[in-house]
Subunit: 140 residues, 4 copies
């Protein structure tokens, strides 16, 4: 997470495109990019050793930034890559890339989301659970 | 479009929410926010005096930035507001807000998209069509 | 509800089409027809005098039959019409039509769904709530 | 395709469920069942030896019938099975089942669609292309 080296990919998910993801321009619709990213985050969270949603705390999507680099056709071999751009006290900035699944030669989209962990009763931000910080440690 | 005054709203569209827009958290899914914004842009474009897509040129969504300010329930009275944040040579930055339809007391989301007009054959950016510049003139 | 006269329309909902409802064939996708019908049913249920979901009972979609009569373009003026085809002990057959909103000259689709009211704890069918039977009485 | 033996499965597709397929009832929404079936048909068609869409002819979805047998949770191991229920002169009735992917112990849904092959210029039905009839021959 330094400024000089790219952040290591923490999770990678192949996307099973659906023909329905296309819109009338015959490319994957811009909103479906968010669905792919959401699916990757949920599967990443589900892969953690501890619970990412508890009785008292849950993550909230605070913002998204996405650059559409090139249109995604159907069919296509596509994958999502997630990495940690920044770990704050109560929030995490998750970098994301949508790439071609066969070696990442093509970059379809990149950007990031900010997720905040909140107290479910009050809606107030809470310190990031340990399970989040552990999941963001690059594996040696 | 100065730094000190808010940009005037150029287009406003009430959103007909659908129950299907909800996800398992019982709020409108984050991807549907993009669908609402897309629908508003398309209706805005369709309201222009000239063609926004021609045989030779078309707009392309280059990037999106969106802040999720509060969850949207169903049913709810919701509207999208669009305004011009920046007019470049070949691109336009369209500011957007998703607000409550009954006086804008509640802000659900805000942010912007960048759209680039391209030559459909070459894929290269072209100067913004006059119809775009005209549409961004606040009406006196 | 006799065999010789058409069932009276019990609920009518204009559909706010979205450009995103189109698929790569430039027509409303077949799955979105179900979303329009679902939205109409939910709004019809919400218009009843009593609760259609309670602590103990809820409706379940048991089956759908739909004839695609002609493709729906965008934009278009479209409405859903619902009527009661059959009232059983524990289920109701709701007839539906998707028509043009300007006088029903065009029929886009027709068919029906069967909905069963169930006990939420056991999952077993229960007698149709009175509120359902009342909602199906044609207004004189 | 006799009345006494079940039709052989002609195509089987595992479904990559998405969390977004859930609705506010926390089950896969009824409209997404159609998207799964559509995806399976398109991949089946794409697996044929010849073209299923040509310059002059294309298939059209004429009707769908679907029985919702049990709700689909997320995550789940799910597959679509397609078989030929009836081959007509200009149409085919494709039977479908949505089953659990791990041995078909659970049946989530079943039913069929009718697809008609049409002349793209006139919109009139045409005799089923040979490639369709060949694809429906059970492999010995």
């Amino acid at each position: 997470m330094s400024d000089t080296a790219p952040a290591p990919v923490l999770f990678r998910m192949p996307v099973a495109l659906r023909w329905r993801d296309l819109d009338a321009f015959n490319h994957v619709n811009n909103s479906n990019f968010l669905t792919y990213l959401e699916e990757a985050r949920i599967r990443w969270f589900a892969s953690w050793r501890g619970e990412w949603v508890t009785e008292t705390t849950a993550p909230l999507l605070a913002s998204v930034q996405l650059n559409y680099r090139r249109p995604i056709p159907y069919p296509a071999d596509v994958a999502v890559e997630l990495f940690a751009e920044r770990l704050g006290n109560t929030s995490i900035t998750i970098g994301h890339r949508i790439v071609s699944g066969d070696g990442a030669a093509a970059l379809y989209a990149d950007g990031h989301v900010v997720m905040v962990w909140i107290d479910r009763a009050s809606g107030r931000p809470v310190p990031l659970p340990d399970v989040v910080r552990e999941a963001c440690q690059p594996q040696g």
